[in-house]
Symmetry: C2
Subunit: 451 residues, 2 copies
């Protein structure tokens, strides 16, 4: 068995902590058995490894997750980066093509696909062996994992089936993806199960899908044609149409951590950051990433989340319906952790006349790290060093820069910064389109910055 872990983007369901660059699975709001904080992806990867220490695991992720994955999984995991964010069907085809074409896995082996966001017990990962066995015994195309519903949700797929005497699985008679509320109520009454989003199938099954879409089993070809693959979920594109499904049930704890309502239920501490709360707050969580205080008084069943991107104040239940409201917000990311350190956007100002703009950031380059050697076509930059010192590279010439130095970088000039001890600076950008994408990167060998 090989495992594909789908590290999808969370969109804005956990706004303002999730955005394009920072998905919910990287938020360190959980706790590992030793009491250290961990993220969803750290938790699930640890749990997979505990049950399947030798199994090859491939993570399907967006390019924007590269730095977060390296930081949080310390390069342990193999990652297949999607050329664009599409949906689960293209992501599964790409990762499977990687396993079959690049890693040369056997067509007779099975692939298990796991979502990144359920909060589950260890037994969940043991069920993958039962699913593999069920697939082999039944001769079915796909084995699903069934979860007992706790309420008539419109968000999930529903599985109905017939028990197979003497076995741990059942045959699926009917599969209904995201029904309306009335249908969901009926299905729950009929003891249908939720589809937990785990799929087990033979490699040969997905090979046929790949060949159907791009003509040949080639990882490169799937990458090249990625934008042309159906923008659809695996559930809708495959599961719903599949005539040969079996299902294994998982009876343990299962929580979808995709909303603040469900996520806060699993958070070990009610507050994070600079928070002052009155003793009269009940079932209230406050997460504050800003440097200014949040004062919370007399709140009940409320979640307050403040980040550089915005501030959410919501009744916990109402937070599940946040999507429609935050879709209107189209801000650039205001804070990002990167491979080299982190930055925070402090200010954005449009000039009163014309289309010129300015943007101010605080950047921190970690000890022993370097910003890529880069240039911008649409902006000048002014860097004022406020802490530490570094090596400043401009058009191939290196100079030392330390607190109090002001560095001027006209547009079109290559520049970089490296630091042995860590350096902070304020960057004022002056130009038209002040976007992260206005960057051209070059190679530069800084040598051993730890030396």
């Amino acid at each position: 068995m090989k495992i594909i872990l789908l590290s999808g983007g969370s969109g804005k369901r956990l706004w303002p902590l999730s955005n394009e660059a920072r998905s919910k699975q990287f938020l360190k709001v959980l706790q590992d058995p030793e009491g250290n904080s961990e993220s969803m992806i750290q938790r699930i990867y640890r749990q997979i490894r505990q049950s399947h220490p030798e199994t090859e695991v491939v993570i399907a992720a967006g390019e924007a997750q590269r730095d977060s994955l390296r930081r949080q999984l310390h390069g342990q995991a193999e990652v297949v980066y999607e050329p664009a964010r599409r949906h689960t069907y293209p992501a599964i085809l790409l990762s499977a093509a990687y396993l079959l074409d690049v890693r040369q896995m056997s067509e007779d082996e099975v692939i298990a696909v796991l979502p990144v966001d359920p909060y589950v017990e260890q037994d969940y990962f043991e069920r993958l062996r039962d699913m593999e066995q069920a697939l082999m015994d039944s001769g079915a195309d796909i084995c699903l994992l069934g979860i007992r519903p706790t309420y008539p949700s419109e968000k999930y797929g529903y599985i109905k089936g017939q028990a197979v005497p003497g076995s741990a699985y059942f045959r699926v008679d009917a599969y209904t993806e995201k029904p309306d509320l009335e249908t969901a109520q009926r299905l729950v009454g009929e003891e249908a199960l939720w589809n937990g989003g785990v799929f087990v199938f033979r490699a040969s099954f997905v090979r046929a899908l790949i060949e159907k879409e791009v003509g040949v089993l080639s990882f490169t070809r799937v990458r090249e044609r990625y934008q042309d693959l159906p923008y659809n979920s695996f559930d809708c594109e495959v599961t719903e149409k599949c005539a040969s499904l079996v299902c294994v049930m998982y009876e343990g704890q299962w929580n979808d951590m995709g909303t603040w309502n469900t996520l806060t239920a699993k958070m070990e501490k009610p507050d994070g950051g600079f928070v002052i709360r009155g003793e009269d707050c009940v079932n209230t969580h406050v997460v504050n990433e800003l440097a200014i205080p949040v004062v919370a008084l007399g709140l009940k069943d409320t979640v307050v989340v403040a980040s550089a991107d915005g501030i959410l104040v919501s009744d916990k239940h109402a937070s599940s319906y946040m999507g429609q409201y935050v879709e209107q917000i189209d801000n650039r990311p205001m804070y990002e952790k990167r491979q080299w350190g982190e930055y925070r956007v402090l200010d954005f100002a449009q000039c009163r006349s014309g289309k010129e703009n300015s943007l101010t950031k605080h950047l921190h380059v970690e000890a022993g790290r370097s910003l890529s050697y880069q240039l911008h076509h649409l902006r000048d930059e002014v860097w004022t060093i406020i802490d530490g010192k570094g090596l400043f590279l401009l058009d191939g010439k290196i100079r030392e820069a330390s607190r109090g130095d002001v560095l001027y970088i006209p547009k079109g000039h290559k520049h970089g910064m490296a630091s042995r001890e860590g350096v902070d600076f304020i960057e004022v950008q002056l130009g038209t389109d002040l976007v992260e994408e206005d960057i051209e990167r070059f190679d530069w060998d800084w040598g051993d910055l730890r030396g």
Copy 2:
């Protein structure tokens, strides 16, 4: 009659919009009869002028209110600036000394003292004439304004008295300042009235108090000895001990706008700033002064206020008890409107080694205005012009500065900035104590910047 309007600091009861520099009375959250937004002080000054167009009005205010008063009252009002923030007793003595000594008012005239923060109808100001008449007719030392209590509050003084047949006032038998809850309940049951904080007395009465405190009727002497005057309210220092009190009643609307609970009840619009609210919010006010969005969903009886100083999320009733929580917060002001424009603190960073710090601001100098000519002893500054242009003055030399220019100001060097068209710049401060107080101001004649 002369009027003293006490423009006290609000402390932190309307945090995070009120701070040392910005008191609640300057928040433009009300609406004037023409539908324009107005602040408490604009409203009460307008109301005073409507009932008493010819009366001399003196405002007692702290130095930190100078810019706000000039902006909001357009230099119409006479202001006596207190040398330090003390309490109402010293403030009333200082203003009365100004009226008696500097303005040479007659000792037989009366002075009416008004608080700045009640939300009242026009009739309230008509009652001042009844109070003057009552003082004259009764021969009492002080006339108070009685308000019918709406609940047994521990915050107010309580007045009990005997009606005087055929007159509009009554004689006060007992005055109880800030009783405990049990006593307040009893007093409300006995039909005692709240003291509305308005005092009318003869100028000769307060002259005796001034002479008792500083030996002579001299405005200069009261200013000089200001720090030594009793740090006490007029209620506790004088009213409570006074044997000869009368009271006139005001029956109209009266709301103390000292808490978010009472202030939001008078706000014309539920939201201010970049706010996205769900339709399911009930009796909820959101005021957002930040550039990032606040999303409010499913809230009931809640007030959300976000400013550069912090974020308050509170049940409206619970917001009345905010004091104890925000007292712990000892931030510098993060945003101030000034005579010359405004600034916002973007970033504060402590150096990893030692006691060096940095602070980053966005400053906007308005068209036709200038920053004072100044120097700092404890910090260097780097200014990067991001919008507009101005005249930059350094050690007596003027140069033009415009977008993209970077100006370096070492500590100990005199500098200033003036602008005909308006100019914005990012200021990075580098030093030890980065406080507003590290400033020495000098005179400079910029000539006519409007020219």
